[in-house]
Amino acid sequence: MSKKLKLVALFLMLLLLSGCTSVTKIALMTKLESGSLYGISEVDSAKYYLKSNGIDNIEIVPYNDGWDPERIESVYNEIREDDIDIIIASHPSSCALELLDLINKEEDPVIVFFTASTTDRLSGVDDSIYRVIQDVEKEQKSIAEYIATEEYNDLLVVRDTENYGYTEPAEEYFKKYYIGNLNVIDVHASKFNSSEIEAVMQDYSFDAIYLLIGDYQANAGVIAQVAVKLNNEVDIYYTPWMKTPDIIDTAGNTIYQSVMPSHYPARNKDEEVNSYIEAYKKEYDYVPTFDSLNVFKVMEVINQNIMQGKRDPISMKKNIDSIRSYETKLGPVNFDEFGDTETELFFIDDIKREFE
């Protein structure tokens, strides 16, 4: 081999090595304030994925958007100033819609993975947004059909007005697919007066209540308690976005007459999910929110792309669009042509056990 060729080979090798050792930064937009378990759980989940797989070429950088639509722009600008173009966002739909506008205005390529935004405005568009959860229509259809099988006389739907991006289309689709008598009352889930809500609910007759609340608003447990105070035999239904250990604190014993839809099977019915939760508990000494499982899943999808050398938004999007199906430890992720997924919903009646 001539000297020149050796130098070229050495240069290429160094280039390859420098490429191999570079760290890809991923922004995680979540709620990191007031001791919120959600953000903690998601950050820890991402870290747990990296640690359990011995990955050191990915760095998770958490950003606190407070799940507040008004803070999305400043946090997104901060991410872009930090030169990060791969984003995982765990915020609710109202925030996702804000972020969607910013991404659409963006000149430089960015790729975003949503783990909790179900809004239908993200559906059916070929953009740089990918979701590992199904959209709100599919979700509400499943829930409506499940509740309808119980053939209640009167179903009271308590709708949160705070996360409008989710609850408005959710109410619409629920009504579309629910067969039976229902009434809807509105509540501001993060700030309400229990006496006032009790007074409102007293005006309705109901044998089941559907708490159409997102954002892991643990206050939903208080409404459940008010409902039970009014009707001791009432059946309570939550959305999948209530699956947090905090609900146990607020719901009291009403949890035993509640059903929780979930994106994952019950722990006692799925060994993979159960072993993940157990391992996580061992590592961090608490039970994670179930949205953190979605973060874990996204991390696995992103890492598979990085391992194939797809480190930038353009090549990653191109790769995902061509592969579409990913096998992950917590189940398959099958993206459609628009980056959406269709997942099965599971209905869990022993909620307390989920968080033990």
Binding site: L32, E33, S34, G35, L37, G39, I40, V43, D44, P62, Y63, N64, S190, K191, F192, N193, S194, S195, E198, Q217, A218, N219, V222, Q225, V226, K229, D246, I248, D249, T250, A251, G252, N253, T254, I255, Y284, K352
Partner: protein, 614 residues
């Protein structure tokens, strides 16, 4: 040649560099000390804040106890402001009575807390012993709180101290200290802070007794026993940065001062040392030793030290002049003495040369005496045989005459006599011939020894004649000779010189090398090789010690002067070899015998013949 100016400049430049480096190191250390002091101060601040929070929570506890006592006594005016929520919970963990309630609190009578963390905390209470819970998620609204609980006979009294109240306590501390205080979970997640602008979302991992440095802040961490969470203090670096900035601003002044100092020093040493020294040097250079030095340079040497050098030079120059004169006189005397000494040395050298010549001559004669003694010994045997045979013949002749006179002589007796006569004549003849040969041979050796005749001779015969002539010397030594020399090898040289060389080798082996009880060997080898005639002599005697081997060719060197050795034998060998333009070397060691090698180049004066080219 190095100059004083160059040297001092170099030293000063090195000095400046050293000062700059040391100053930089010192500056870094000073900065480190300032930063460390600040860190220590702020660590104390954190301890004070932690202490203040604990004191405030203790105050809450005392107030809680007072409220509980007032409630038992059914006092009408009870101040519940210290707690965000206060209520009774029954043994079934249901809220039974609300004493006070935050306006946003969600709780209501009948609220079930059994499955909550608060419920778990209440179950740990002992009767009539109030206790503060760790920080936990509130049941009342979406925030974190600390609860004070008291177990009474009938129920539990619970007081909630919301995160906002805790943060209020901390804000008071923060305002006093100009710092940001953060409450964070043990995993590093921020629960709340006294200022929303933080340089992190998740607190970086670091030990509680160390400080963490951000660009604009120092960060300190300490666990609070009541909250069970970490208290963090973010201290702006402004104060430290101002100090460091001030140092950085003043540093150039320091360096300028050093440079001015060095320049002044260079100028001073130029005018006070170097120039006066140059003038002194010029004066010394122009000073003629014979002339008294002029002191005209004195007026420019205006420093005490330079004046001292000048004065000393004047004193020493006078002393040098006197010393030089004294030295000149001594030199003249020395020259006269030298001339006398040369004559004495010349005479002594001549006497010594004569003495050496005589000694060499006496050595030759001593060698000749060995040969004469050998001649006497060797000739005595055949002469003795001749005498005996002649005596025998004489007896037989007398017997024959007697027989003839008595007419008793028979033919037989005459025949017998004639036979004996014939035999005796043959014996005498043989012995006389042998005697003649011996005498001829010895004569040749003896003549050769004392003459410098130059002719063609057989080297082997020369060696054998020497060996034979020394037989009487070595017969008591049990010596075996091994002579490796071609019969056809002839030299055109002075045979006496070789005879003397071999005689001295053999006599040295006998007198210094051999022990009479041992089996002694002498080997002599002669060859012609590379236009050189080479003689190798070897014996298996006791050898020569390492200390002596370098001295064996020195004149008068002997290890056995008591036995009458002059110490000239090997010196004569050396001189003879040198005279033939050859060289001699010796190898030996104690107990290893001795080996001599003589190499003589073939020349017009020294020719070698072999049978082939003879």
């Amino acid at each position: 040649m190095k100059t004083l100016r160059g040297l001092t400049l170099t030293i000063e430049m090195v000095g400046i560099i050293v000062i700059v480096i040391c100053s930089s190191i010192l500056l870094q250390n000073v900065k480190a000390v300032i930063v460390n002091d600040e860190i220590e101060d702020q660590r104390s601040t954190l301890e004070e804040i932690n202490y203040y929070l604990n004191t405030s929570l203790d105050e809450n506890m005392r107030e809680f106890i007072k409220i509980s006592e007032d409630l038992e006594q059914n006092k009408s005016a009870i101040d519940l402001d210290m707690f965000s929520d206060m209520y009774y919970i029954d043994a079934n963990m249901r809220l039974v009575e609300i004493l006070t309630k935050d306006k946003e609190s969600l709780i209501f009578t009948g609220y079930d807390v059994s499955a909550s963390k608060l419920g778990a905390f209440l179950e740990t209470l002992e009767a009539d012993t109030p206790k503060i819970s760790p920080m936990m998620r509130s049941l009342e609204l979406d925030t974190m709180s600390v609860y004070v609980g008291l177990k009474t006979d009938k129920n539990y009294l619970v007081g909630r101290i919301g995160l906002e109240k805790i943060m209020n306590y901390l804000k008071i501390s923060a305002q006093g200290q100009g710092a940001i205080i953060v409450v964070a979970s043990n995993d590093g997640y921020v629960i709340d802070s006294t200022d929303i602008s933080l340089p992190f979302y998740v607190v970086p991992e670091f030990e509680s007794d160390t400080a963490f440095e951000f660009e604009d802040y120092f960060l300190f961490k300490q666990n609070n026993d009541y909250l069970g969470d970490d208290l963090l203090v973010l201290v702006p670096k402004t104060h430290v940065l101002e100090l460091l900035e001030r140092i950085n601003e003043q540093l150039p002044i320091f360096f300028v001062a050093i440079i001015i100092f060095v320049l002044l020093k260079i100028i001073a040493q130029e005018y006070l040392i170097i120039k006066p020294l140059q003038r002194l040097s010029s004066t010394v250079e122009s000073w003629e030793v014979e002339v008294q030095p002029t002191m005209s340079y004195k007026n420019v040497l205006d420093t005490k030290e330079i004046k001292a050098i000048s004065n000393q030079f004047t004193i020493k120059s006078v002393e040098i002049q006197a010393y030089i004169e004294e030295l000149n006189g001594a030199n003249r005397e020395l020259e006269i003495l030298n001339k006398d000494l040369e004559i004495v040395v010349e005479n002594r050298t001549k006497e010594l040369t004569d003495a050496i010549g005589k000694l060499i001559q006496s050595e030759k004669l001593a060698a000749l005496s060995h040969i004469v003694a050998g001649v006497a010994h060797e000739v005595s045997t055949p002469i003795g045989v001749c005498v005996t045979t002649n005596s025998f013949l004489k007896g037989e002749l007398e017997k024959l005459i007697s027989t003839f006179e008595s007419n008793q002589m028979s033919k037989q007796s005459l025949m017998d006599f004639l036979v004996k006569l014939d035999e005796s004549i043959r014996i005498i003849d043989n012995n006389l011939i042998r005697t003649v040969d011996l005498v001829q041979s010895f004569k040749q050796v003896a003549v050769d020894q004392v003459s410098d005749m130059h002719y063609k001779f057989s080297i082997k015969e020369n060696i054998e004649m020497v060996v034979t002539s020394l037989k009487h010397e070595y017969k008591r030594y049990n010596v075996k000779f091994k002579i490796d020399c071609s019969d056809a090898l002839y030299l055109s040289a002075c045979p006496g010189e070789f005879s003397q060389i071999f005689t001295n080798f053999i006599m040295n082996s006998l007198h210094h090398g051999f022990n009479k009880e041992e089996d002694n060997e002498i080997a002599i080898k002669c060859i012609c090789e590379d236009k050189k005639f080479i003689v190798e002599y070897w014996d298996n005697g006791i050898g020569i010690s390492e200390g002596n081997i370098h001295r064996i060719f020195d004149p008068f060197f002997t290890t056995n002067r008591k036995s009458g050795n002059s110490g000239l034998g090997m010196n004569i060998v050396y001189s003879l070899v040198n005279r033939m333009s050859g060289k001699i070397s010796c190898k030996s060691g104690e107990g290893k015998g001795v080996y001599f090698k003589i190499e003589i180049p073939i020349s017009e004066d020294f020719k070698v013949y072999s049978e082939a080219n003879n």
